[in-house]
């Protein structure tokens, strides 16, 4: 019973889009904490287990609905008392509290090593992933990690084990060293690796050609994965607020270009917005949740977003299940 009260409280707060005051920590202070695990723990403070529903319907303790018996159903779940009352064969369905399988896909290319806020995008992305991973592991969910640049760098399968989250933190703390970002190859590989449905959280600056992005993401969707994309950008990347004209050096390709920020600021913003808009459009078409995170923004909204999405997903599934049950009935 305690669990349901917690759940309802959290749901209320999430639905209203508020974050509890006790969970907010200044971002600069947070990023000064050395241990990633500790950072995650601080952010997750205030969120508790059981805030999401399982997308699976199995045979568990909590009854959800009846379904007419069809040949091949397990006779153990036949409701004999309903049969006695109605002379029809019904099978009981229960809400299955299965563990969620969630994989974080974290971009480890060199462009993630950029930052003007005192920490890099990579630090922010790692903290974001760690926070969500910690939160989910607190829920006894299986959490996995894939870091990638042009190819998969690290792959830690989703598990729920006592030291598993620690392994994840260690992998996340690695300095990004990859040369470039290419989403096609890593996403295709990940799609091959994950044969069981689950949640995929892609965290990247998305500084890559978007030509095949829609196709790559559709691979996940077609396999039943739920996908959330977090685009992590430095504020200066968003605003291009530099003043001194100087030689700009591409951290990934090594190319150099003399740029006068004042001269190119507008065109830069236009191109960036166009690029981002294209990504958002692709996500929207595929039913993928997309959220842009500037590295000076707090992490809690991202966590709330995650919860909101999961809650919505849970409700949608439940609704679909009921509708299906009714139509069969």
């Amino acid at each position: 019973m305690a669990r349901s009260s917690v759940q309802s409280t959290a749901d209320d707060s999430l639905s209203s889009g508020e974050i509890r005051p006790g969970g907010r920590v200044e971002l600069q202070s947070l990023m000064r904490i050395r241990g990633l695990e500790m950072r995650a723990k601080v952010v997750v403070e205030g969120f508790w287990t059981g805030l999401h529903r399982s997308p699976y319907h199995g045979f568990s303790v909590e009854f959800t609905e009846y379904r007419q018996y069809s040949t091949g159903d397990d006779l153990r779940y036949l409701d004999w008392r309903l049969y006695a009352r109605s002379d029809r064969y019904y099978v009981k369905r229960f809400e299955d509290e299965t563990n969620l399988r969630c994989h974080f896909l974290v971009d480890a290319s060199r462009s993630m090593g950029f930052g003007t806020t005192g920490y890099t995008k990579s630090d922010y992305a790692a903290t974001l992933a760690a926070t969500m991973a910690y939160f989910l592991s607190q829920q006894r969910d299986a959490v996995g990690l894939v870091t990638f640049d042009r190819d998969i760098v690290d792959y830690i399968p989703a598990r729920y084990r006592p030291r598993h989250s620690h392994r994840l933190m260690v992998a996340l703390e690695k300095t990004p060293a990859g040369e470039g970002t290419d989403l096609t190859v890593p996403l295709a590989r990940v799609a091959e690796l994950m044969n069981k449905r689950g949640l995929l959280v892609l965290i990247s600056d998305m500084f890559a050609p978007i030509g095949s992005l829609e196709y790559d993401l559709s691979l996940f969707r077609s396999r039943g994965h739920d996908v959330i994309v977090f685009q992590v950008l430095d504020p200066s990347e968003l605003e291009f607020s530099f003043s001194a004209a100087t030689q700009f050096h591409d951290v990934e390709t090594g190319k150099q270009m003399y740029v006068d920020p004042a001269a190119v600021r507008n065109s830069y913003r236009e191109r960036l917005e166009k690029h981002n808009a294209a990504i958002e459009r692709s996500c929207r078409q595929l039913g993928i949740d997309f959220r842009r995170m500037a590295t000076d923004s707090h992490l809690e909204p991202a966590l709330a977003e995650l919860m909101r999405i999961r809650r919505r997903e849970g409700q949608t599934r439940k609704r679909f299940s009921r509708q299906a049950g009714r139509s069969r009935g």
Binding site: G113, F114, D205, S236, S243, Y258, V264, R271
Partner: protein
Amino acid sequence: MSFLTPLYLAGLAAISLPILFHMFRRVPRGRFVFSTLMFLSPSPPRVTRRSRIEHWLLLLLRAAAVLLLAFAFARPYWRDDTAEDDWSSRPRQVAILLDTSASMRRGNLWQDAQGEVNLVLSSLNPSDVVRFHAFDDTLRTLITAEDWSSLAFAERGALALRQLQELQPTWSATRLDSALTSVAESLAAEDLVSGENAEATGERVIVLITDLQGGTRLTGIQGFEWPEQVRVDLRRVHAKDATNAFMTWIDPAQDALLEEGEHEDNRRVRVRVANSGDATHGQFRIYWQAKDGNDETAEKVDIYVPPGGSRVVMTPPPPEADATSELQLEGDGHGFDNTIFRVASRLREQSVVYLGAKSASSDGPEFFLSRALPKSTTQQTSMIAHNPGEPLPPDLATSPDLIVVTEPVEPHWIDWLRDQVGGGETTALFVVSNPRVIESLKELIDQASLSGEEAVVRDYAMLASVDFDHPLFAPFRDPQFADFTKIRFWKHRSLGWASVPGASVLARFDDGDPALAEFPLGQGSIFVLTSGWDLEDSQLGLSSKFVPLIAGMISYRKSRISQTQTFSVNEFIPLAEMFDGDASEFADASVISPAGNRMELAENGSLRVNLPGIYRAHVPNKDEIQLAVNLAASESQTEPLAPDDLSRLGVRLADEPSTSGHRQSAGQRRQLLAAELEGKQKLWQPLCLAAFLVLVFETWLAGHLARRNAAPDGATT
């Protein structure tokens, strides 16, 4: 302001570099690492903005640093017009210093040196003031500045050439240090001498014409502060043949006492043969010069001395019955030092008469005396003992060197003693081991007041005061030998006398009694020792002082001719001291030089020799003595020194021959004056310091501006 090296001002063009860098910088210095360039397009630098000077102060500082450095390198100085005007009219002070030492006799050296002098003379200006000096181990002034100035210009050269023609190399050693410092001092003092015209004195140059051979003495320059305004124009003359070997005698006194039967070997002489370091070969021969001049029959010894090395060689026996001999060396390139002269040391036979009791034991006075008699390759001493109680023996020696009396003697012995000692040839020593000996002494010197008795000695007595000025004790004057306190006297006799003319106490015991006294007798002396040297009385016989004391008494009245009869050229030979006579006695003495000339002695009885060879000295009432005079060994060290050796000692060498300065153009003279002015003012030093300070400030400012203008983004990657 003028510049010594104005070409460096071309460096001012470097000022344009900071401006150019400032103005035409198209490629920015900084580099900003950004995450991606995929949304960027290149924007060309805006020339209008960058062609403006952004940091005027920085630019000015950089230009100022370049400017200061260029000025410093150009060696600026404040022009002194008056000095420049006077420069050409300033009289130059030139001192020609010509080496006339024996080493200049080699080969072509003297001709070359004369040629150099001619060259110098021919290049002089009318305004130049010249002195002409010659030096070997002394400095001789041939022409003074006054002489030079008093003559017409045409006559000056003639005077110098006359002096030069009369000049010949001597046989003396080279003492460049004293010559150089004397001339330098006189040149440096020229300002003081010229008084009001001090400012008008021009360049001061010593034109040194020498072979600068290795034996040149330079030590005197070490402590000399070389005058800044005096420069030495070194003109070296070089011998064509570098090989030069030379010989030096090994002191015969260093030879160990030879055993009996080694007489033949005794006549052989050891000689050191050395070869110059720059020699081209080392094969030589030595032989004794035959009196008849026929060298063919002489026995020649082949020796090999490597260049720079030396060997000690045993010569063949010198020609028989020759007191003087010449050893020749052949095989080297220069003959000036190939003959060395020698006077054979004669064996002196001395005799001592002992009047005392014979004792067979090894603790009596005779025993110690017999072992203390000097015996060496140059002197032989014999002792004859007589019993003073017996009559005079028929074979009694006459004029012994020393008579030692240890017992009371009979009257006939007294008479004999009086004769011997009174003649002045013999010294007597009365050893008062018995108070009765004093009676004999009293009788001998005829002094009734003389008295003596056994002294009361508590424990032991020591010699407390010794007259080291007396010839007998003079050898002990040195503090390391002057300690007589280790000799303990168990017994002694006190001796007293009222007044004896000429008597003196040479040493006293610590109780005040005389230990050794000297009484005159006729022309001779009598020493009285108030204690014995046997073990019964004292430890004197065992002391290290005993042998030299006895030797001193033996040779006390004899003419003490130095054992060393070999000298160097230009050495003062103290003949009077050698004969132990008064200088007045040598007024009639004559010395015959090797050239056959008769030489006079100096007032103090000394003789200065200026030729190598055998000198024969005749002194009335004395034996003729022969003296061998050789070339100074240092003069034979002909391996040349480097001019740097002079520089190291502080001598300021002229970089270029200064006499050529007379042929210098006015422009060159101005350059010299400019160099002198610049050297005094040293304006480049404050300029360099200022440039350094400007650069420090510029560095700080540039750093400050760079930090301020650093990319505001503070991006980290």
